[in-house]
Symmetry: C2
Subunit: 334 residues, 2 copies
Amino acid sequence: MSDIRRTVVFTRRPNGAPTADDFAVLEQALPEPARGEVLVAARYVSIDPYVRTMIDPANPYGAPMELGIPIPGDMAGEVIVSNNAGFVVGDWVAGRLGWQSHALSAAEGLRRLDLDLADPPIHLALLGSSGLTAWFGMMEIGRPEPDENVLVSGAAGAVGQVASQLAKAAGAYVLGIAGGAGKCAHLTGGLGLASAVDHRSGTLGEDLDRLCPEGYDVYFDNVGGSITDAVMKRLRRHARVVVCGESSQYDLIGNEFNPRILGPLMDSRATMTGLLVSDFTAQYDMARAELARLHRRGDLKVHVDIVDGIENAPQAFIGMLKGENTGKRLVRVR
Amino acid sequence: MSDIRRTVVFTRRPNGAPTADDFAVLEQALPEPARGEVLVAARYVSIDPYVRTMIDPANPYGAPMELGIPIPGDMAGEVIVSNNAGFVVGDWVAGRLGWQSHALSAAEGLRRLDLDLADPPIHLALLGSSGLTAWFGMMEIGRPEPDENVLVSGAAGAVGQVASQLAKAAGAYVLGIAGGAGKCAHLTGGLGLASAVDHRSGTLGEDLDRLCPEGYDVYFDNVGGSITDAVMKRLRRHARVVVCGESSQYDLIGNEFNPRILGPLMDSRATMTGLLVSDFTAQYDMARAELARLHRRGDLKVHVDIVDGIENAPQAFIGMLKGENTGKRLVRVR
């Protein structure tokens, strides 16, 4: 076991797309857990787009994240020292312990992982924030009915892969939007969606019309930007739009402007609702049980995109913002 | 009684703000009702902003309205000839009979007016499309709770005056936005709202902050444009936005662009819903009874803005789009 703790931090705020120079990897001796604490050795760390928003000076969710602190993200790992009666060495746990090789935890936010239920990467990818976000967005806001037409942007991503399969399991006709032929093949092949639309084709609007001429009842939006502009004109009466993310905007400097969307909303009488998963914490256990059940039954495939080494977390993040991942991006820590 | 029928029509599609030259007043001999029909002499005709959208080549609600036909609008009037067993001469009726002095009706869409319930202008202003739009928007989408903060744009207009008072009757703290000091005085004086915000002040954002620093739970939007941009940043958690109209946009040539609103929606986890009153026809009778009850009880004041003469309907419409009316604009026909 390594006796060095590696922690990935921002050293400055990215100006547009992040670069390697915005990050540093700090090395320290392993800390000693205080009374009531455990020391967790990371095995997998979740790399999430929301980090780009949090480090931005204009973070809409509150004060921007500080520089020099562990970058937030879920970690799955093993307890290697325990001063807490609730945990023993060897326990697998997950918590929001950040981009680091080892973490101290007072154990309040820690959940024990049941490896009979799912492997650790699946715990992070499906039973962590990505899968929960997909669940509450699709089931509480999107609410697809059998035979409704459901469209998911970023469908090959961490949230999108779960959201699109949840709609399929509900009996909907599901189309996914992704960037590039490879991801599109994955959507119809691996995930079994009815159709895939490549937003890089240059014919997004025509493709959306051709593949589903009657329009869309549910749009689960992870991307925003010009993709959303195109979809808003193709909503069916009383459609539901789940506003989950706008990854197309995170690296922009300043605001992008778009055609106003009040007109399309009035035309379709659609509803758009902003989603933040932490509004639903009281229902996490129920959602995890349902997600795990669908996964075991084979109705919910989870693609995991692994990058090795905590020191490579910055590159994993930079690439994810450019859309290079298929499925949930995780860093594996040895 | 005049034996001439005057009908106001468009002779061409307005390019931007309509001008008098876009209209004509046709004169014809009074028509003879066929079997089953009645002839109605107009007393009041409703002048509504949706006409601007319908005549536009880009009408989002369907094919643009034809030129040369009666411009649509509700009429309240008296039956002067009846070939229908359900109506006798002297009956007061209302229906969507257009901008004209007299109309034939096969009586299907005609409703008899109970003058004990309300005077004819109140039937049009409160129990017609404006009041019904306000009712369903506020009660089905806005759903204000006691002590919530409710903001209404175009609050001195036909829909806004009803929407804002419905929220007040529900126990909410209600602020109205209007253009100019006179309308603002009317909002707090005549209608009894808690506060009024003049969107022409040049300090809209600061005023919205000052008058309600904690932000808004419900926004009933009749105006769109830069007013909506300012409000979106001031929504409280889980706010509801009723997208009823965007009068600021109707006279624009081409699309206005705005900052994207997905970010504010995610930040607030608000819901925006497009409204069209005709989705609620099955509940019109219930809503009319409730609106009339509130009106009789003195909890719902209805301001009517009268222009005399059907030949002045074009000017009444042009002025309304510029915001010169306070309350519901009607043309009185002699």
